[in-house]
């Protein structure tokens, strides 16, 4: 059989949300860095270890050779944390329905394209990525620093996540029952005062100003009736309906499916 050179298209569509989804999914696209939160502060927010402390391990480093021989395992280049035997830890984000830059399933798809050694889970009120500890710290910093994160409308929440579907508060922040982040009115920016599971930080971690509504709408990945309606993107509709058609037909009369 001849080899085909498959070129990934990442995501269909011609409208703004579709284009923005493609940007996130395409690993060749360098996402804009909007802020630089120090790594130690990221580690504090994650709450899995104190900055500077050793990583806990769950097995000896791989180069000690104590893993049984397995040709399949040998095929896979381990990520750094796997090599060292780190435990699996997580970062979990909540994205507001009110124009947060990224949305749960797009996160999952983006993670799949850009990162290796991940386990990701998608719900409506939260989206989690689990990796070996040192790797998840790097990924968390990348995500917190870049345009997937809006300081007011994206939350870093490990538990008690309610707020994604609720109106923003007077300061423009997404509701958080545990107030892990707060509005610093003097500086006009958001700062984290607790880690992702609500344990107070020793001092606030500023994460910067929220993006203006105009910017958020230009960078949105959501189709909404008060923005771009998904039905106005013919290609997205067509591809989505194609998935529906194929799954339906292949379930009971796959012989009937004819595609170009």
């Amino acid at each position: 059989m001849a080899k085909t050179k498959y070129k990934a298209q990442f995501y269909p569509g011609t409208t703004l949300p579709a284009k923005n989804r493609r940007r996130f999914l395409n690993p060749a696209v360098k996402l804009e860095k909007l802020r630089d939160v120090p790594m130690d502060d990221v580690v504090k927010i994650l709450g899995h270890r104190t900055p500077g402390s050793d990583y806990a391990t769950i097995h000896p480093p791989l180069d000690e050779g104590s893993e049984p021989k397995c040709p399949i395992r040998a095929l896979v280049e381990p990520i750094e944390g796997a090599k060292k035997g780190d435990r699996i830890r997580y970062v979990q984000f909540t994205d507001s329905v009110y124009w947060a830059p990224i949305i749960p399933y797009v996160r999952a798809q983006m993670y799949m394209w850009r990162y290796r050694g991940i386990d990701t889970g998608t719900l409506s009120g939260r989206q989690i990525i689990e990796m070996r500890e040192r790797d998840v710290e790097k990924v968390a910093k990348e995500l917190i620093d870049n345009e997937t994160f809006d300081t007011a409308r994206t939350g870093i929440r490990g538990a008690t996540v309610h707020g994604h579907a609720v109106r923003l508060d007077q300061n423009g922040l997404m509701f958080d029952a545990w107030q892990r982040f707060r509005w610093n009115a003097k500086k006009g920016e958001v700062e984290y005062v607790k880690d992702q599971v609500g344990v107070p930080l020793d001092k606030p971690v500023p994460v910067g100003k929220p993006m203006p509504e105009k910017w958020l709408k230009e960078h949105t990945t959501m189709f909404r009736a008060d923005g771009v309606d998904m039905r106005d993107d013919e290609e997205v509709m067509r591809q989505n309906l194609r998935i529906h058609t194929l799954r339906t037909k292949c379930g009971f009369k796959p012989f009937d499916v004819k595609e170009d």
């Binding site: 329905v97 749960p104 719900l123 309906l241 379930g251 009971f252």
Partner: protein, 554 residues
Amino acid sequence: MAKEKEKMFIAAMHKKFKEDPTEVRSQHYSYGGWRQSKRKREWVEQANKIAKDRGIPMMNQDVGVALGQRVLMPYQLSHTDIYGEADDLHWVNNAAMQQCWDDIRRTVIVGLDVAHNVIEKRLSKEVTPETINRYLEAVNHTMPGGAVVQEHMAELCPELVKDSYVKVFSGDDELIDEIDKCFVIDINKEFPADQAKQLKAAVGKKLWQVVRVPTMVGRVCDGGTISRHSAMQISMAFITAYRLAAGEAAIADFAFAAKHAAMVEMGTMMPARRARGPNEPGGIPFGVLADMVQSTRTKPDDPARASLEAVALGAVVLDQIYLGSYMSGGVGFTQYATAAYTDNILEDYTYWAVDHIKDKYGGFCKSKPSNELIEKLGSEINSYALEMYERYPAAMEAHFGGSQRATVAAAATGIGIAFATGNANAGVNGWYLSMYQHRERLGRLGFYGYDLQDNCGAANSFSYRSDEGLPHELRGPNYPIYAMNVGHLSGYTGIALAPHAARGDAYVCHPLVKIAFADKNLPFDFANITKEFGRGCLREFMPMGERTAVIPAK
């Protein structure tokens, strides 16, 4: 967007301010009564007096606080004016929900023709309307625990078992005319003429008993006990009514007929992995549960109402009680289910779909269930539902969980397609179309399990081959991938009823069940399901099998 009807929402004043068009629609029932001037004075005085006495927590009169605060608004039971708290809607706290399930479980339908054949052919005794009446009198004594034939029997306290009785129905008008009215469910009286005709044709000249075993028996024992209690007491009644020899060989025929050959229990046997006896909620196919809903006969011109009632019944029996308790337990499931039958949100989407189908698709059952139709109409209904959530923050907050929104949007879509096509499998395929589009559009759906169940379901929606699928009406909570996740069984039940209500069918798949629940003597009124759940919230619903008579008096 198509015209927005206010019929589900209060027809009162609302105003918009400043440049923000975030118009909020009230989700509450229209209180036309306020405007009836002749009673108005009385009402205001009455309300003021009640308010002083009522001690409802929002007043916080006891602590003298000037402000009532709450996190969850009371839920309005859809298409009623009854409000209940989330707590009131947990089945453990709601006597109406309990009796609803009790009334289903304790019902067993037992044929009389096999037994009559035995009497006539094996025992050479005559069966006449007189003997049937005598038998019915006897069985209405034995079923609630009265003794016959044997001496020195322990009988049941009538107060505890007053909900137990036996009635009959038949498609044979002549025969039914001769049975004592108090023992009859009269198909002609309970159903509109065309539905009565369909039902009598389906039932034929057979004579069926609707047995209600005491609620208490089902509570202490299990679903499987019902048919046995029933068969035992039926057999005793035959012995006494026909003056048979108790214990002669022929008696085995009555027992066999009542337990097996002519017995219809509400829940079928489940797969062994469920490790449960028969006649439990997991064994009730959607179409059979849908047949218990009686709005199809009380409001035959409103298929949407019937479908929405089926959604409510499915939500409580299958999502809250079966998945939420039998299969898991605890308190986590209630609000996944209540989203589908409270606050008139699904109501609005469903009636919008009805109007849309009448406007653009020629009305009920006029569309072929093609892929193209499902995609077009499904996209329209689903987009309307999601648009309501997007435009109205109040709706988005009422259904603050993605699972709630996903279920409601998909239920409206599935029911709408079922209305348009008259086909339940097309309807359930529409449910999945909604889920796919919802996920694509908003980049989120429901809880973790929706990622699986609602992405793979389209693949089995049209399959009928025995290990792949079934007609939707015959599927049930243990259909592969339906038993996994709460929040779905309500919609699936609605989708089973919808096409049949739209077609004007008298029943979905089980005419006997349909007739059995058209019975005024049932403690739970299956013609007003959300209202009954609401009366449970209000502590106005009196359940049966209460032990007051046998426990220490206060």
